[in-house]
């Protein structure tokens, strides 16, 4: 397929010539009978990013991305679009900062408008103890070059007069801000990576469900799919949310439980919220989409599930959190709600690792933080697949870290996945 370079000039030219020059954004490929160097299972954000960086950074282009439905039909289409690199622990923070830097250059890199908007993210503080904890986190962010600012009460009040500053239980005392955080158009991430990977020769194969792994003498030789067997020198699973189900086909159990996280969007409103606000103490976070809807969410539903829907008590819990901190949200009507399935890991941190089966690799356990990690996840997974070495910022995301006592537990709640 001929590459089409997107630019302002191209838009103008097409506008004047009847929009006849636009082409499909990626090739809809058929599986090759000769097989592939790398088969990536899962055509979501992470899988497509992995394919792109395999091709771009490592020159490995004989790659297929297999997707059960259509690309981007999983969690990359079901999140709240927030990006940030405001983590505390050394195992996490440099990784998420790499992701932020990749977000900052993403659109130029893949020549696709992903609507990366660094509008800033603000974590509200309600007590002296919480302020100490957030200042500590801010220092960790500054060490990693992520940038962090402390916002005083008056700054917050001036910018967001609708916040309930004097809430009796959670009065707003200040906030930790990362001005480089923000939002990205989630679907465009999947489409942009798909287009860029496809242009470099990657086969994107949709409606192709992996039904089993061809494992012989402890070595993975390929996958069995709804469209026939596909040979591969290396198989890379990347299906967060369904990791349990897919890895069970290879006989591998994981330190992961699947839970549902619900999210909500109101009807479109005039611009009112130019930032991402998180109210961690009440489990509520909110941003405003470019269409004007207030996009918000809160806690997971707390029980194991693979159903992409949750229950009403959590809807009430999230909305009451919103009402507590920004009462004006009660005037907006709810337009939609949805649920996505999370790989909740035992310490709240992800995995990018080999498995006990040779040539079978695993990427998952992203909890509810997978979207922001998309570029770095693909970047580091591709590095591991191509070189068999861990990338410098992803050395801690190993599956055996619990046995070694080397967990990366940001919240310090232990092996209770529904509390991370």
């Amino acid at each position: 397929m001929n590459k089409v370079h997107y630019s302002g000039f191209k838009v103008l030219k097409e506008a004047l010539t009847g929009h006849k020059g636009w082409k499909p954004v990626w090739r809809d490929a058929e599986p090759k009978s000769s097989g592939y160097d790398v088969v990536i299972v899962g055509g979501g954000g992470h899988g497509l990013a992995t394919a792109y960086y395999l091709a771009k950074n490592h020159g490995i282009t004989n790659v297929a991305v297999l997707e059960k439905g259509w690309i981007g039909s999983g969690n990359v289409g079901r999140n709240t679009t927030i990006i940030r690199s405001n983590y505390l622990l050394p195992g996490n923070e440099p990784f998420y900062e790499l992701s932020m830097q990749l977000w900052e250059n993403l659109e130029q890199d893949i020549n696709y408008n992903a609507m990366v908007s660094q509008r800033g993210i603000m974590n509200l503080i309600h007590s002296d103890a919480q302020r100490d904890a957030f200042v500590r986190r801010a220092n960790s962010m500054l060490f990693a070059g992520a940038g962090a600012e402390y916002l005083e009460q008056d700054d917050i009040k001036d910018r967001y007069p609708f916040l309930d500053m004097k809430n009796p239980r959670f009065p707003i005392k200040g906030a930790l801000s990362q001005p480089r955080g923000g939002t990205v158009r989630h679907d465009a991430v999947a489409w942009g990576y798909a287009r860029a990977a496809s242009d470099l020769g990657v086969d994107i194969i949709q409606n192709c469900e992996v039904t089993g792994f061809n494992i012989n003498n402890g070595k993975c030789l390929g996958v069995e799919t709804s469209r026939g067997d596909i040979k591969a020198n290396r198989v890379a699973v990347c299906v967060a949310g369904s990791s349990g189900r897919v890895m069970a086909k290879a006989g591998i159990k994981l330190p992961i439980e699947s839970h549902v996280l619900q999210a909500f969007v109101t009807e479109g409103l005039k611009p009112v919220l130019d930032n991402v606000i998180t109210f961690g103490a009440g489990h509520f976070y909110c941003s405003q989409s470019d269409k004007g809807g207030l996009v918000f969410g809160g806690d997971i539903d707390s029980y194991n599930t693979y159903a992409q829907r949750g229950n009403l008590p959590v809807v009430e819990d999230v909305c009451s959190g919103g009402m507590a901190i920004m009462p004006m949200i009660g005037r907006a009507r709810l337009l939609r709600s949805w649920g996505g399935i999370m790989d909740m890991s035992m310490d709240g941190s992800p995995f990018i690792d080999r498995t006990q089966v040779d040539e079978l690799y695993f990427n998952g356990g992203w909890c509810y933080g997978g979207f922001k990690a998309t570029p770095a996840s693909g970047y580091c997974y591709a590095h591991l697949l191509a070189t068999d070495n861990y990338h410098d910022v992803a050395t801690e995301f190993k599956l055996d870290r619990f046995l070694r006592g080397a967990m990366i537990d940001e919240k310090g709640v232990g092996a209770q996945p529904n509390l991370h």
Binding site: G244, Y303, N304, P313, V315, A415
Partner: protein, 111 residues
């Protein structure tokens, strides 16, 4: 609305899960705290040669069943009993509920 459409709507509405407590009758799942798989009842033997691996498996590795899951719920806002609930992780339908003590005894535990 046709009957089929109505049935579809009813399955799409997110009804709260009702747990049929063996002693107290139907209770809202909100009264309970969810712990996880009922496998957690079977603590490994700490004197075993393989205790480290056994406890790693017990504490950190999950079956993560897609289908009927046998799991522990604690009736925190009720009679504080532990229940074993069999529930589908695909549809949220609750298939059976029993007291955790009964479940443990039926599975060979002395108490």
């Amino acid at each position: 609305m046709t009957r089929k459409a109505l049935e579809h709507s009813l399955t799409c509405i997110n009804f709260d899960m009702i747990i049929n407590h063996p002693l107290l009758g139907p209770r809202d799942s909100e009264e309970f705290v969810y712990l996880g798989s009922a496998d957690l009842i079977n603590r490994p033997n700490w004197e075993s040669e393989t205790a480290i691996e056994d406890f790693h498996e017990y504490q950190y590795i999950r079956e993560n069943v897609a289908g009927d899951n046998v799991e522990l719920w604690y009736h925190e806002q009720g009679d504080q009993s532990w229940l074993v609930v069999t529930r589908s992780t695909l549809t949220h339908e609750i298939k059976s509920v029993e007291l955790a003590s009964d479940y443990a005894k039926n599975n060979g535990r002395s108490r």
